[in-house]
């Protein structure tokens, strides 16, 4: 380190060095969700409060099942990336790392559960 000046270390690094990949990932998932979210609200919404048979019949159809599945998958990946930024902003040090690991695991567990549940209803 003593061989490098501060100027030399900073040169060409930009202000944050990394982050555009995360930003672009959020852009892609938010555009996808712009389409999926209204679809989700108007397919899943009317089913809340319906009886068991109606719900399983409805989600045996390809369109409602795929809209629900895609919204959960894309939404939870979008959540994982968003909550990571939230944690990085407000929590420091080891707690920051632990929270990011926990929330990432929660996100993937929720995705896996959603795929399992909807596939079992649909198939």
């Amino acid at each position: 380190m003593p061989f490098l000046t501060d100027r030399k270390r900073a040169n060409g690094m930009g202000s944050a060095k990394t982050g555009t990949a995360q930003f672009w990932g959020m852009t892609i998932s938010s555009v996808a969700l712009l389409v999926l979210v209204p679809g989700f609200i108007f397919t899943v919404g009317p089913m809340i409060g319906e009886n068991h048979e109606t719900v399983t019949d409805y989600f045996s159809r390809p369109f409602p099942a795929l809209v629900a599945l895609l919204t959960f998958i894309v939404g939870l990946v979008h959540f994982k990336n968003g909550v990571t930024v939230l944690i990085e902003d407000y929590v420091q040090g080891l707690a920051c790392k632990i929270w990011i690991i926990v929330m990432t695991c929660v996100s993937y567990a929720a995705i896996a559960t959603a795929i399992f549940a909807i596939a079992r209803i649909a198939l």
Binding site: L34, P38, P46, V55, A68, F72, G75, F116
Partner: protein
């Protein structure tokens, strides 16, 4: 490697020092709504899992989701989902370099607040 020590320079004043503004409040609510949506997402995934398991499992999930507590969570989440969606749309517009003027940003903030309330009411009315 770079020094990890705290920089010895003036740092920007933070939240507590500013008067709340349309832009800052509408922005923080995008973050709050987006992260709070985890609650209803997990509730809905549990409802789907119960529906795929058995009639009795579905009965308990359905009982919770249609109780006053479930209703409150679902209605608040519906608003949060519309608000966060409009907030995301505002970000996508900003990313193209449009609407960055203070007046335009504040106008979009009002569209988010009023629009999300209207969309929530329309959605509830439709069901």
């Amino acid at each position: 490697m770079a020094d990890a020590k705290q920089p010895n320079r003036p740092l920007s004043p933070h939240l507590t020092i500013y008067r709340p503004q349309m832009t800052s409040i509408s922005s923080i609510f995008v973050r709050i709504t987006g992260n709070a949506l985890l609650v209803s997402t997990l509730l809905l995934i549990w409802w789907f899992l119960a529906a795929s398991t058995s009639a009795s499992a579905f009965a308990s999930a359905n009982y919770v989701i249609t109780s006053w507590f479930g209703d409150a969570v679902m209605v608040l989440s519906l608003w949060a989902l519309w608000y966060h969606t409009l907030g995301g749309l505002r970000h996508l517009i900003w990313d193209t370099g449009r609407g960055l003027e203070l007046e335009a940003a504040e106008r979009m903030g009002w569209v988010m607040i009023i629009g999300s309330l209207v969309l929530t009411a329309v959605t509830i009315f439709c069901f």
